[in-house]
Point group: C2
Chain length 222, copies 2
């Protein structure tokens, strides 16, 4: 029985939570930190991963799983950066589930440091599904407005990190960073918050430094 | 048995499609055009409704149903414009369903011309639920990117109108209007497309003119 077979069997037998727990154990045993990225469509998940691919080159080995309803577009963008990427197209489903990750996992190189999982663009449904990640990250982009955390609370209450993205657009929009931050923290006081711009570079160094620390802490706890 | 009771009974007995059909008949008998607005969170649905409230004042009677997971925020914004608004909070659910509209409908004034229904901010799930609307409108905002129609096809294949919103941000973003338009039309050649900015006013007159024509056509067909 191959590793792939084991995961296929789990698809059938186990609930999402159990599958996620099995994936988490597997990734921890490989010393890989999985990061689940959640946001609305167009909040900048793929652009952030492109920027991180450039900044992590030579410093960490990474792979990416892309979740989308249709098209291979996001995986192609990541591969163009020289990073191995797998596209999961859900064919209509509004979120990734652990079993979908389980199917791809046997193909992921075992010697990577980080596995980034870009969820389907949807600020609602993905928040209900553990994918076996070590770190859950929600992006809220400047154009979406600072009133979103309480309107879409679950993504914020279940995340470890909030990235306030597209900060370069702040001069053109009424987004109040402190208000958004305070509201998100009122829902989840443990959230780590970073203000970032993948195109202008703001906050990326701090965010990447945090990622390395988080990997060390999470894997040493495991 | 009151009208409210009839709708409560329908909740239990009928599927979403049947409830939606009953709502459509009821609205048509009242000469009301219902417009279901779909988009990602923060694409500008509420801001558009605020701008339309100003422009329709004295020209048409309108009411608004706001769909959100939590908070009364959007209904409060609409009421501040002097427009009657009802907030449906889904408490976690990622879309509105016809039965939710059916419960509110008996409270809606019978003498209005347009009923705008702002769906939960989600470009995926709401596309699967007929609410009894006469017109389905999807908003795609400039910051979300021009690659979204094929990645989230159902909202575009089921809509009658596409509003490319936040056009005022175009100078700051790489959004290609013609590309987005062509891709959406390749999915759904019948889409009517308008480029709009609720804050700068671009396209609003054409969009509102279209709405009045659509109301006449749809209700004369009914």
């Amino acid at each position: 029985m191959t590793k792939k077979d084991v995961f296929v069997l789990q698809d059938i037998l186990l609930s999402n939570a159990q599958t996620a727990a099995a994936i988490r154990r597997e990734l921890e045993s490989r010393h890989i930190l999985a990061v689940n990225l959640l946001s609305s469509p167009g909040a900048g998940k793929t652009t952030l991963l492109e920027a991180m691919a450039d900044r992590l080159r030579g410093k960490a080995r990474i792979a990416v799983i892309e979740g989308d309803i249709e098209t291979e577009r996001d995986a192609e963008r990541i591969r163009a950066k020289g990073v191995p990427a797998w596209q999961i197209t859900t064919g209509g489903a509004c979120h990734l589930e652990a079993k979908m990750i389980g199917k791809v996992l046997p193909d992921i190189p075992t010697d990577i440091d980080f596995l980034f999982i870009e969820n389907v663009g949807n600020l609602v449904c993905p928040a209900g599904y553990d994918l076996g990640e070590g770190l859950r990250v929600v992006l809220l982009s400047t154009p979406e407005g600072d009133d979103k955390p309480k309107k879409y609370p679950k993504a914020f209450t279940t995340a470890d990190v909030l990235l306030l993205s597209k900060s370069d657009l702040r001069p053109h929009l009424p987004f109040d960073v402190e208000k958004a931050k305070a509201e998100a923290l009122s829902l989840n006081p443990k959230l780590r918050v970073f203000v970032i711009s993948s195109v202008a570079g703001e906050g990326l160094e701090e965010w990447i430094d945090f990622l390395f620390q988080a990997r060390q802490e999470i894997l040493s706890r495991a």
